[in-house]
Amino acid sequence: MSSFAETPRLTPGRTVLMVVLALGGFLMVVPFLWMILTSFKTLNEVNGFAWLPNQVEWMNYVNALKAAPFATYFRNSVIVVVGQTIPVLLFCTAAGYALAQLPIRGRKGILNYFILLLIVPFQVLIVPLFLVVRRIPLAGGNDILGNGGTGWLNTWAALIVPFVSAPLFTFLARQFFVSLPAELADAARVDGVSEIGIFFRIMAPLAAPAFVTIALFNVESAWNGFIWPLVATSSENLRPLQFGLATFAQGQGSVQWPFLMAMSALATLPMILLFIFGQRYFIAGMATSGIKG
């Protein structure tokens, strides 16, 4: 991203462009604005149409939190996000570094394998993944061959373990490490640093932007995940925030819109804030993974 030393001059053309973009930008955030405004209205008020609430109903947020076990859902989402993201960071960057900088036999083939996996839609995997998780040996009452019990279904493992690594992030990390000069590692080798030590002490710190990008991407996707928790769990004690929202929204006909909008705002805000603080890295990450396609 180039930065501008001077403030750009406003020509007529640029002014028109700005107005168009401002209008477009406004359209992008209107739904969120509408969500926030509704979240402060009374139940009666939402029967008619008005932009602004008559009086600000802060209590909607409190009451919505009480209407469903949202505190539990929230905690569950946090556990899943942390449980996935830490190993993702470790495994994917390590694999990315190995694929980029270390002389592994068949490296090109392995890289192509990861790229191929990138294209497989997650929906294709849901049914067999459900079976894999159910047949994990010696878990949930299963015998050594994975028969008899429920395996990892309805456990934290089901929500976390299948996502502790992802081809997308391995690929992204590889793209990043490829651009680091190998001379750095050679210098460390001369100093007697072990190969693993080179990764952890020399390369990983240099790859901080890649780490942040991967972390942000993974936090977003873990936080927003929906279909898999729906399939792999049935206990309220494990289900994430998105699930709570969905149940709330589907109370056909009897949806309490102000509550639902309050909950949506609470579920949305952390990710928006995270994005705003981390957006430089997000965009860098998209660039490294995108351009090389």
């Binding site: 991203m1 180039s2 406003l10 640029r14 462009l17 168009v20 973009l21 477009g24 406004f26 739904p31 969120f32 509408w34 969500m35 149409f49 190993p87 390590a94 694999a95 570094y97 190995a98 694929l99 980029a100 002389p103 592994i104 497989v120 839609p121 929906q123 294709v124 995997l125 049914v127 067999p128 079976l131 894999v132 690594s165 793209q175 651009s179 190969e195 693993i196 927003n224 929906f226 279909i227 998105q242 699930f243 929202l245 969905a246 929204a249 579920a267 949305t268 928006i272 994005f275 890295y281 997000f282 965009i283 860098a284 998209m286 660039a287 490294t288 995108g290 351009i291 090389k292 396609g293």
Partner: protein
């Protein structure tokens, strides 16, 4: 730091010359390589490659959740193409993809070009367009459900403003799918825009400058310099957009549940219902294989159509 990540040319490291006799350092490197690669590789085999192969196998069985399936050959596939619900879901998914992908690509490219100009507030605009991408589809779906509320939603107010008759939106079988397409375009815009923006910024300023010196108009510069430079990115955006529009699920699940009258039933929703409501895993797996084939066909078509621009695609 992000600046450097983008500006630095991303060039694949040349493989080291393979020596006939690998010395100790090379061996140590390879060992470390395998060690570092192992978790990700093993994980991908267990939780992606193996399930992928299983999906294909299951599609030839009559597996149900409770028990093992028996091999029944291509029966599932034959049944699928007699199944009105499936055919409807397939049609809806294709309609959704064909409508959403090109529109979203065109609009996101236009926005990216706009944001690539030197205008004040670029960072803010970029954020505004990207925010729908980072928010969960479930929350987004809930909001749009409220916007499309026939009685008090924002949608009908906008129609009224333009003097158009009120709509039932998601309760009207003719309107429901297009209404959800609009949400899809809205939500996916930012992701494509960011990729285009990054690509636009990587196009050599020298080339643009040279075109300018040669007296090329803005349009000529765009078609002769910028557009060819975007070819590989078009392909990337096309592939990811097709894949993600085939995967639309959360939106449908929360808003319409496939209704009204099957009008918004899409492949993933039908797969979900067959697998986890009707408990017919074999049949649902056949559906996923068909979905994969369609994604593959569309990606290949996209690849062919872009071949002319770039040889190494």
């Amino acid at each position: 730091m992000s600046t450097q990540t983008i500006d630095r040319p991303v060039v694949a490291a040349e493989p080291r010359p393979v020596r006939r006799r690998r010395n100790g350092v090379e061996r140590a490197k390879a060992r470390a390589g395998w060690l570092l690669l192992a978790p990700s590789l093993v994980h991908s085999i267990l939780f992606i490659a193996l399930p992928g192969v299983m999906a294909v196998y299951l599609s030839f069985t009559n597996a149900r959740v409770a028990g093992q399936g028996e091999w029944i050959g291509v029966k599932n596939y034959l049944d699928l193409f007699q199944d009105a619900d499936f055919l409807h879901a397939l049609k809806n998914t294709l309609l959704y993809t064909v409508a959403v992908v090109p529109v979203a690509m065109a609009v996101s490219l236009a926005v990216a070009i706009g944001l690539n100009q030197k205008i004040p507030g670029r960072a803010l605009f970029r954020t505004l367009f990207y925010i729908p991408v980072v928010t969960s589809t479930v929350a987004v779906a809930a909001v749009w459900l409220w916007i499309y509320n026939p009685a008090a939603g924002l949608g009908n107010q906008v129609l009224a403003f333009f003097g158009v008759a009120r709509s039932g939106w998601l309760t009207d079988p003719d309107v429901a799918l297009p209404a959800l397409m609009l949400v899809g375009i809205w939500q996916g815009l930012g992701a494509k825009m960011i990729i285009y923006l990054a690509a636009l910024q990587s196009i050599s300023p020298d080339l643009l400058e040279a075109a300018k010196l040669d007296g090329a108009s803005k349009w000529q510069t765009f078609w002769n310099v910028t557009w060819p430079g975007l070819a590989p990115v078009h392909f990337f955006v096309l592939v990811t957009s097709i894949a993600s529009s085939f995967q639309v699920f959360d939106l449908i699940y929360v808003t319409t549940g496939g209704g009204p009258a099957n009008a918004t039933n899409v492949l993933t929703f039908d797969i979900f219902s067959n697998a986890f409501e009707r408990l017919h895993l074999g049949y649902a797996s056949a559906e996923t294989v068909v979905m994969l084939v369609f994604v593959g066909i569309l990606i290949s078509l996209g690849r062919l159509s872009l071949r002319g621009h770039r040889e190494d695609l």
